[in-house]
């Protein structure tokens, strides 16, 4: 189904859900104020629903917002976003019955940074989506760029483009990509500890601790994040040193077995910090140790909330399977 078709379908479904009182609000996307941005939209009536869109820039994970509502909520979501909803339901953060999930089969979201890189600093004035291509106009020229070459890194290795759960499916299911081998982090995983440390510290040196990564993350919902605690204060507030690292390392471990790799954190970062590699590595460890992939099933217990006699315990008895 074309983009226009998806947009029309989402608008129709949202308008219907709002009109018949099934939901009080539909959380979707509308065109943003910039050519490369779609922006969250909270539609409450038919006129609002008419503003909803679907395009290559619907990168935000809107499930971030659903915990704010205690009533019936409609939400427009990609495959990865439904995985985070699954985790939120399993963690008793939202009631499945309160949600009307409008799932959109996704063929990957476009990385604004890649397009801007191709335009070499010239400002992008407009982007139109054609069949598998993006027609990008900057201050100097118009270019036709294959869509697949502009996708976010996370989208390139995504194995769940179709919604895991949904009430309404907007559009035909898309072909899933091959199963995840974590080969994109194989090089990082195989590097000696010193090299991995240098890579992570090098990235985190750019962090300005604005916490956009945390605040964009659907699963970072702690009422009091450990970095905000003052009695006791677990982490110092300085930048560029162990405090920054502590934040990212603790956050990545807190998301172990929960992170669905939607990429919301990395897209939110204003400094281009590669947060993804760290989370991907932890995900590959969870997959290797527990055979668990977050957000794929409402019934499968989360690895850190169950115990099996044959759970790997090498980390207690010496050796580190994670380093393999």
């Amino acid at each position: 189904m074309s983009r226009t078709g998806l947009t029309e379908r989402i608008r129709e479904e949202a308008a219907r859900l709002l009109a018949d009182g099934t939901v009080d609000v539909v959380i979707g996307f509308e065109q943003g104020s910039l050519p490369l941005r779609a922006t969250p939209c909270f539609a409450r009536d038919a006129a609002d629903a008419g503003r909803l869109v679907w395009n290559a820039f619907c990168g935000n994970n809107l499930s971030r917002y659903i915990r704010r509502f205690d009533k019936r909520v409609g939400i427009v979501v990609k495959g990865c976003d439904t995985r985070s909803i699954v985790e939120l339901i399993k963690e008793n953060q939202v009631q499945r019955d309160n949600l009307v999930i409008i799932g959109v089969p996704c063929d990957g979201m476009v990385d604004e940074g890649i397009l801007q890189g191709l335009c070499k600093g010239r400002e992008i004035l407009s982007v139109e989506e054609g069949d598998g291509v993006l027609v990008v106009t900057d201050a100097g020229r118009t270019m036709r760029i294959p869509r697949d070459e502009c996708l976010h890194q996370g989208c390139r290795v995504c194995t769940q483009r179709n919604p895991v759960i949904h009430d309404i499916l907007a559009g035909e299911p898309v072909q899933e990509q091959p199963g995840d081998t974590y080969r994109d982090v194989a090089g990082f995983a195989a590097a000696p500890p010193d090299a991995r440390w240098a890579r992570i510290t090098g990235e985190m040196d750019r962090c300005i601790r604005c916490y956009a990564c945390r605040d964009a993350c659907p699963l970072c919902y702690c009422a009091n994040c450990f970095v905000d605690a003052t009695m006791p204060q677990w982490v110092g507030k300085s930048v560029g040193g162990s405090d920054t690292l502590s934040f990212h390392l603790m956050r990545s471990l807190h998301l172990a077995g929960r992170c669905v790799e939607c990429g919301a954190c990395e897209r939110a970062c204003p400094m281009g910090v590669d947060i993804r590699t760290l989370h991907r590595k932890v995900s590959s460890d969870v997959a290797g140790l527990f055979g668990y992939k977050p957000g794929m099933s409402l019934s499968e217990p989360a690895p850190l909330s169950r115990f099996e006699p044959d759970d790997p315990e090498d980390f207690m008895t010496g050796g580190s399977p994670c380093a393999e």
Binding site: G32, L34, T39, G121, E123, C210, R214, N224, P270
Partner: protein, 350 residues
């Protein structure tokens, strides 16, 4: 270009910039735009070739030159008895030139001067850094669609906060002195005088560039509207998409709120001044646990009203220079210009 000395304008060939900066490095710390890992940042350079003036704007503003994100105010060894051996860390930056900043960011420093530098409450840490700073700005021949400097009282060739301002002219920059410090600097560096025709050409181009950026809203209308809108229901919907991160405040050239934090570092107790953000939950949470700004709604409103109402009351100028960074970097595209337009048009009636 207000206040520039046309007669003493000099030329600096684009190809000569690296050599010029290299020559400064003997006596100056040169902070310039540097491209690294795909983003542009202001950094102290070690070689003239590192500076990259072919940029639109940096990811973060250069305000850290006068207000570092983390600044140690005091320290004492952990081994010392309480209250003894306390050292005050007054900055001694030497001579620093901030080279190639955009006029909006130079105005940002001009704004911070009003907050930290003036009157009986002048901040000596800020003053130490500011007094040793020379600001060389680079006028904007090609403002971005996200720029709105003229709306907040500036412009693509605004000279406020600058000691010198450069304007592109073909393969050279025409450099104008704005302040006496700037004129003295120019007189010591033996750059050749700019051709009269070039000076007139860039002045005329600057005027055109300013005229092409019509202000989006009237600041006094906006302020009048805001002053009656503190409890407007519209804040609920306007701010609903905010996720409560601190991006807007940390990329902003004028946001200046900080926290004073005592930490232990390398065997010393240190008292640091660290940027804080009104968007964070800890910013207004009181000892009792009560928070007068409990959600993104009150926090966003605070930032917006601080910029366009409270700062105007206090400093006679808005706390926004229209650089557009918060527009570009907000993870959810909560565009401050739309909020400005809303209150200007609605005049607070909602």
């Amino acid at each position: 270009m207000r206040g520039v000395n046309e007669m003493s304008a000099v030329r600096l060939g684009k190809g000569d910039v690296a050599g010029f900066l290299e020559g400064l490095l003997a006596d100056w710390t040169v902070v310039a735009p540097v491209m690294h890992d795909g983003i542009v940042s202001f950094r102290a350079i070690t070689s003239g070739t590192e500076a990259d003036l072919d940029y639109s704007n940096s990811a973060q503003s250069p305000k850290g030159v006068v207000l570092p994100q983390v600044e140690t105010l005091l320290s004492c060894p952990c081994s010392s008895p309480e209250g003894e051996d306390v050292v005050e860390h007054t900055p001694e930056p030497g001579r620093v030139v901030l080279f190639g900043v955009r006029p909006c960011d130079a105005r940002g420093i001009g704004f911070l001067d009003r907050v930290f530098g003036e009157g009986a409450n002048g901040d000596n840490y800020y003053a130490s850094r500011r007094e040793s700073l020379l600001v060389v700005s680079l006028g904007c021949s090609h403002p971005l669609a996200t720029c709105f400097c003229t709306t907040t009282g500036g412009g693509p060739f605004s000279t406020e906060g600058s000691d010198l301002i450069m304007a592109e002219h073909g393969d050279e920059y025409i450099v104008f002195a704005v302040t006496e410090n700037g004129a003295t600097f120019l007189s010591r560096h033996g750059l050749s005088k700019a051709a009269e025709s070039a000076v007139q050409a860039v002045l005329s181009a600057a005027e055109t560039s300013v005229a092409e950026m019509q202000p989006r809203v009237g600041l006094s209308i906006l302020k009048g509207s805001l002053d009656g809108s503190f409890d407007a229901a519209a804040w609920n919907t306007l701010t609903e998409k905010c996720v409560g991160c601190g991006v807007c405040t940390y990329v902003c050239p004028t946001c200046h709120c900080f926290d004073i934090v005592d930490e232990v570092s390398g065997g010393s107790r240190v008292r640091n001044r660290i940027w804080d953000s009104c968007q964070f939950p800890c910013f207004t949470r009181q000892a009792s646990g009560f928070d007068p700004r409990p959600t993104y709604r009150e926090r966003y409103r605070q930032r917006f009203m601080h910029k366009f109402s409270f700062c105007t009351d206090r400093y006679g100028t808005p706390g926004c220079v229209g650089c557009g960074r918060c527009v570009t970097e907000c993870p959810v595209n909560l565009d401050i210009r739309r909020i400005m337009a809303f209150f200007s048009e609605k005049r607070g009636e909602e």
